[in-house]
Symmetry: D2
Subunit: 341 residues, 4 copies
């Protein structure tokens, strides 16, 4: 069975496993107060070109979205996202469970439109009744988006500017950030992102680590007593150094971007093959997620050999399916997939 | 200044004030465990023709929506409503603050479409990832809706049937129920509603009382330890008999429906005058809320003499305004308003 | 049946009912944005001698505690109270339901000891693990306490000073404030309280009103967007002017203190009679609640004629019972009670 | 520096690291729906002798307590624990953040007394006002306790029986369960625990794993849609098979109990040395935590060479310190520690 169902199907890149093995007999203090975490934070600050950024490590993506969004919002505020945003759809109500509304705008191939954001806020504050409504308090976007698309630098800047004009910080979910930063044609670098976003995270779970997300607060804006708040959310890992070791490794010798680039290269090969064979790509996206609208006999035929992801029904005869590559995808696996198309 | 801004601008109908004055020196036990509440509950059960219904009294509408929705839902469930629904827009996130998502469907002149509800649920359960999503757990509608429109009996029945088929109870917000039950042409009676809905409330605040909403559980489905849960929501009135006295009065000699009918009659007069003068009614609605799309000079002219409600911008030159009548509106007030149109 | 079970058994003082009747045909804007509320706020600020205080009206005591405590605390903070405090015992978990821990210290006849508070905080911050613990964020006391006792001015000052030294505001629950301010021997005036506390409320429900509590923020410390937060807690009364009318009346011609003094005078008569007859007063308290430890035959005998409150088991043969007077208690009622003792 | 500060200072036992390395190139489905998890669950059910138990894997202890307690409680219920219980003290309010009160009873060397539990519940239900109070809904104990003490089988049975009699399930926090099951003189086996408790967990983080806690529901009492609820708590690990691999390894060839026994053996050696040298053991406890009351010069002297844990101030000259062994502690480390005493 070929595994293209998602980008979290394999363990960790070998450098990480080696590092864990080498440090297994070293005693570390708990809860992230260790040298491995300090080292990883320093490397991330350097890669971001933000010497004053505040870096924290959490375990998973939904946990990170829940913890960051809840602690960045006032009780009377909600988070603004596109309707296809992960916190709105696939986090089982994790945001609402902390008391906050998820305010949605329509997505455009997964992306938020700054003008629509501006209009939403302008209309909100012009409404005589807005004190009876949930205040827009934080803008959430993901980069890449749920549909694998990415923002350009200018787009990110205008979204950030719009958010700030309405008193909101910009939070960028980077669960797949490596794949965005290494996509063909992107003009967004990690320092760009660190400069533009108020808080973002660098995904490890989907990009080479066993688990882990590195949250970066870039503007001296870490929520007060953040360690306590992480603990309260059940999100403080006892053996925090495991996160430090993994991110320290990923940010040594550009490992993070190198392994991410592999996923995009493999996805590009799949996209090219799909186009050549006349398949319908649902979205034009340059990252590791390939969305393709397939008729049901084709789905059935492929699923005999390939694990794919269900995305959504297109019409009665077609379904949007997702083929995911990752840092772990090999040339051979893609060759086999292409042979089946 | 003529007061047509809302339907909660005046105190209470005189019968209620008289009753409060007459019983002011009587000692009652607290928290609703009194004879006045028992009497009011009996009268409501009789009016509903549901001898086994369980009736509770709360103070206000948002409080009632919050308490009922939160206590009827499991933690992994959200409430399904149209996007224009009060809990989605004008309750400052009261539902989310209790941990639950508000799941929205498009409104049709304020109303929920049963086929869209069915489709939403069918799609939800067909989605391979639905265990990562918020389960639809309760259907919320209001009758009349936010736009003054009403459901027909057959519409309510199919919504209830659809909700039940997908494992959800139907909750009807009746903050303005009197105005719905006495609207011209309605085929929905209070016993109909009590038969169709799993839980609903009879609004007092907007229909003759100083305050108060009577929640009716019709199917032996009161949430466990509901008194404790009301208390936990900060919603248990110490002098609960004040609610019993008011609802007991409203459900004596048909007072509730009689005073509600007045509001509709006055609104009908306004609608007729608006039509005659060529104004654009935004919605065709038979209850006490009159929505009219006005150009800005007209708004300015009228607002010198009439308190109206802002609803929403229609376009750059027009705004949707609301004229509200109530149980307290007099012929004379409407005459004066019409003279200004 | 004589009614001494609690202090919320009768309607409102006649001046309030008269005022409601006289204004019943006046149209008011909703949600407390009316002239009656403005007038009441002005009167309360004057009575408090705090021209800059910010006054808000809510409906009930638990609701007020829940709303004030939740909105004054950061998410990582809890409220510090004595173990007998109302929010710890008799609010069905209303505080915890908003996400905050209730941190308890032992009570001394219902009162908080400033030295114990100081010690708790010092120990907390000295604990290496305190970042894994709930931060003490607000000090809650009631005046009078649950046991009818009152603080002296110097006691309040040292509690406030202690709270402030540890970064906490002081919140005084004044559900029965009138009875505290008019107790024999008290040296605490309303201006004293307004000067010492950071936020407190003036109870209406138990002191002359149909319902209502007036929250006073004395230090420019109103939680941001407080109206929205009240709404989110389901605590915003549509006909807010009903609260303004009641408090405006209570703060005209010293009505509030005058009617409160009656309750204390009647309670003093009961206490004197109990002492004369050799009963055991459980607490020495100078306000409207009389606690008396009774043997079970006496309880049975009295309960045939008098409604009393159960407080707690004393031992196998005795129970602590509560006799409550109020603004509404008459000489005749107390005469009859005394005759039964 | 000798590391006796806690029992989560080292990585994982070598068998686990080997297994992760061997399976690193295997594709697994996400979120715990994999063969490694199935295998581990089967092994745990066998070790528990509960063929029908339902087993789930979470990442950390606070997260597990938060998720289990929140999902087992009704909204009007709180969890009953001793005051020294981890959820009451060291989880930063994680339980309250989900809306539930932590109800405390006094601890006895960390343990709950069944008679006090019984008395608390009897008093609660006998209180006329208990509907205004938080219902006791679940009994939480830890085995071993925070002070390293353990329950006997008969003690556990009477606690369970008491809990059940008052309508509560018994939840046993087994973050250090291995150390309890292998303590000298214990009569509690894993099958005993599985038979007595309604839900418990087997700690991996502190007993040989990188991370992970295995929750066991023994009575067909798994909360509905538990996967969704785990997700909502931010506690669902994407690469769930990492948990399955670790627990599968720990429950192969009795590895879990074998490595746990080492910690107790090393702790026994430390206790013996302390006793011989005349130190004061604060608690008589047979597991891996050694509590010793030290004067401050001794603490200073030892801390130059040994990492210890601060527990609490004993008096002005003495502090209770904790020395922790673990599965990873070596004879040599203990020899060096003893030489320093």
């Amino acid at each position: 069975m070929l595994s293209f169902g998602n980008d979290y199907s394999y363990g960790a890149c070998p450098e990480i496993l080696d590092r864990l093995a080498r440090t297994n007999d070293t005693a570390f203090p708990g809860y992230g107060s260790d040298a491995a975490c300090e080292d990883a934070k320093r490397r991330i600050r350097e890669a971001c070109e933000t010497p004053d950024a505040d870096v924290w490590f959490l375990v998973g993506g939904t946990q990170t979205n829940q913890t960051v969004i809840d602690t960045m919002l006032a009780p009377y505020e909600g988070v603004v996202t596109v309707d296809s945003g992960h916190p709105n759809v696939h986090e089982a109500g994790a945001i609402e469970s902390t008391g906050h509304k998820v305010i949605t705008l329509p997505h455009h191939a997964g992306k938020l439109d700054a003008a629509e954001l501006d209009d939403y806020c302008a209309t909100f504050y012009a409404d005589d009744n807005h004190e009876h409504m949930v205040f827009p308090g934080l803008v959430y976007i993901s980069h890449p988006t749920e549909y694998g698309t990415i923002y350009g630098k200018a787009e990110l800047e205008v979204i950030a500017e719009t958010a700030h004009r309405h008193g909101m910080p910009l939070f960028v979910d980077g669960a797949r950030l490596g794949y965005g930063l290494t996509a063909a044609g992107t003009d967004v670098t990690l320092p760009d992102l660190a400069r533009i976003a108020d808080v973002f995270y660098i995904g490890g779970t989907k990009v080479g680590a066993l688990f882990g997300e590195a949250v970066v607060f870039t503007k001296g804006n870490t929520p007060k007593h953040f360690l306590t708040q992480i603990k309260q959310h059940g999100a403080l890992l006892a053996k925090g150094w495991l996160l430090g070791l993994q991110f320290g490794t990923l940010f040594t010798d550009d490992l993070y971007l190198r392994i991410a680039a592999n996923a995009n290269r493999q996805a590009d090969r799949i996209r090219e093959a799909l186009r050549e064979r006349g398949y319908t790509l649902t979205f034009e996206a340059p990252t590791n997620q390939v969305f393709v609208t397939l008729d049901h006999p084709t789905i059935e035929r492929l699923q005999a050999h390939v694990r794919m992801g269900f995305m959504e029904k297109a019409d009665n005869e077609h379904t949007v399916m997702r083929l995911c590559t990752s840092w772990a995808t090999t040339d051979e696996q893609v060759d086999q997939l292409i042979a089946l198309l």
